[in-house]
């Protein structure tokens, strides 16, 4: 399959994520949309990694080109997990104080 399909698919997922972050009001759903954005990036990185691998493969059978793209994906997963643990802790802390995860609630606190 040509690389364009992958680019379009992951850009579509990414845009769904962005629209979700900007329009939804539930903190958990915003959070899920951010994860969607990160996973769209992961998909794109893997596709590009395979693409770079294939271009070099014709000339050199033992090539390791494109491997760093997949390594990057692992780093994104690790960091996203760390971010999730902090983020959920923050949401739980807010829920304890306000009994709601609605981000509109926050605007009422503005002076």
């Amino acid at each position: 399959m040509p690389i364009q399909y992958y680019i379009v698919l992951s850009l579509a997922l990414f845009c769904i994520g962005i629209v979700g972050v900007l329009t939804r009001r539930n903190a958990i759903i915003i959070f899920m949309c951010i994860e969607l954005m990160l996973n769209a990036v992961n998909l794109l990185l893997v596709a590009f990694s395979k693409m770079h691998h294939n271009t070099v493969l014709a000339a050199d059978k033992a090539t390791q080109a494109g491997i760093e793209g997949q390594l990057f994906v692992f780093f994104i997963m690790v960091v996203a997990a760390a971010e999730v643990s902090v983020g959920l802790a923050i949401i739980v802390m807010m829920f304890r104080n306000t009994h709601s995860v609605d981000v509109n609630f926050l605007n009422r606190l503005k002076n």
Binding site: F14, F72, E83, L106
Partner: protein, 460 residues
């Protein structure tokens, strides 16, 4: 390399010191000692006395500029710990953890000052921001702190997502993650839409981090809601780290963005200066005014990105010193005030003449009055932009007009302190606090008279 490893180690030392002792005073002293150790270890690295050598496969590149920037940042954090350490331990029950998180932030700063690979840029930004989410929300019972922390977290991870998309597109077109700091600038690698688009997305994400308009909207709420000590840290050291990430990425890559770069920069700079300065004029609370003023100062720091030459780097170093020291000083005085509004400062000159004097020096420096460090900081970044491109003169004039506007709200504080009657309520002030405050004011004035002392070392 030393600063990355030692700061992570010192962070762990601080975490365990919370188990060993419960005394807030001794935790603060351990933190100051650990910070001093970090500074010494980094200086040993910078002067080639002792280096920890690890093969990083070219993912990090330790040049003079990055090393020197790290020195300044660690030095500023040391001063911050000395002057505001008492307030840090008061925020909540886990005093040792706050210092541990500050050390982890410094790890991120050290990586950002030396990255040569987009993977390291990503990791540096994340190591820098994740501890900040926790610090922002550290006042757990306070709803404003909760709000600030959640907002910062959502905006922070949103901008990370955008940056990652930029990195992925860049990788797709170029086939690797290297940015090659030492590459000769001004030669585009190849044509095509992916590289400019990727760089644009990374630009947007970094603009989020340094709170440049139109990506600044989270800044006032987060800075206002976070515990004031941590606002002081975020507005100075973290912001400067965002700029070094910026300048390292675009000093070799801005040519790839082509003509869009020359359109983008003036628009962002004018928007940032406009939003920061004009909104700051209408604030009632000094803390919120400082949040907007930090946006306005980011507008000036962005001129270093227009320049992207040696003068611009000197200017950024000078700006880091001038802005960080002055803002840390102002926040440390703000922390002693009972009332954060402008009225709260009424008559401070009568009750606490020394605090009022130091505060005046810091505010004059932020406004960019000659004989303070802020003047030369602004002068260098603007001169760098002009040296690069004289057709940008109109932009420099606009910036000077905004600098004049900024004097208005800084002078409002000075006016309240000296010319208005009132009983400014301050909490108890130790002699050591006054001494450190005088040291900060002295640094501002000395750098303002001899700006070359800051970067004389830069070339040795």
């Amino acid at each position: 390399m030393n600063s990355i490893i030692v700061s992570a180690l010192m962070g762990m030392v601080m975490m365990f010191s919370g188990i060993v002792t419960n005394s807030k005073q001794s935790i603060k002293n351990i933190a100051i000692a650990a910070m001093a150790v970090l500074l010494v270890a980094h200086l040993a690295d910078a002067n080639d006395i002792f280096k920890i050598n690890i093969n990083v496969h070219g993912m990090l590149n330790f040049n003079r500029f990055g090393m020197y920037f790290t020195t300044l940042v660690i030095g500023a954090t040391l001063l911050y710990t000395i002057i505001s350490g008492d307030e840090v331990v008061k925020v909540g029950a886990n005093s040792a953890d706050y210092f541990a998180l500050i050390f982890f932030v410094l790890t991120g700063v050290s990586i950002l000052a030396s990255y040569n690979n987009l993977l390291m840029l990503f990791l540096g930004i994340e190591i820098l921001t994740i501890p900040l989410f926790v610090l922002t929300g550290s006042d757990k019972k306070n709803l404003k702190s909760n709000e600030a922390s959640l907002k910062y977290f959502l905006m922070g991870s949103f901008s990370t997502g955008i940056m990652l998309m930029g990195i992925a597109l860049y990788y797709g077109a170029s086939g690797n993650f290297n940015i090659d700091v030492n590459r000769v600038a001004n030669e585009p690698v190849n044509s095509g839409i992916l590289i400019p688009l990727g760089l644009l997305l990374m630009f947007i994400a970094l603009a989020f981090k340094v709170s440049a308009a139109p990506f600044h909207f989270w800044t006032p709420d987060v800075y206002d809601g976070a515990p004031t000590v941590f606002t002081s840290f975020m507005a100075t050291i973290v912001k400067a780290a965002g700029f070094i990430a910026f300048i390292r990425l675009f000093e070799s890559r801005s040519a790839d963005m082509g003509v869009s770069w020359t359109i983008l920069m003036p628009v962002i700079i004018i928007a940032t200066l406009l939003v920061g300065n004009v909104t700051a004029v209408f604030q009632q609370s000094v803390k919120r005014m400082l949040a907007y003023s930090s946006i306005a100062q980011a507008g000036f720091m962005l001129f270093a990105l227009v320049g992207l030459n040696d003068v611009a780097k000197e200017g950024l170093l000078l700006y880091t010193v001038a802005y960080s020291i002055a803002t840390i000083g102002i926040f440390s005085i703000l922390l002693k005030m009972k009332d954060y509004t402008f009225e709260g400062y009424n008559g401070l000159a009568k009750t606490q003449p020394l605090l009022a004097f130091a505060n005046t020096v810091f505010l004059l420096s932020l406004a960019g009055i000659p004989l303070t460090a802020g003047f030369f900081a602004k002068y260098y970044v603007l001169a760098a932009a002009l040296k690069q491109d004289t057709s940008i003169l109109w932009l420099v004039i606009v910036a000077l007009v905004f600098a004049a506007i900024s004097a208005y709200y800084y002078f409002k504080v000075i006016q309240a302190m000296y010319f208005k009657d009132g009983e400014a309520a301050v909490s108890e002030i130790k002699p050591s606090f006054k001494l450190t405050l005088l040291l900060l004011a002295a640094i501002i004035i000395i750098v303002g008279i001899f700006p070359t002392v800051v970067f004389n070392w830069f070339y040795f």
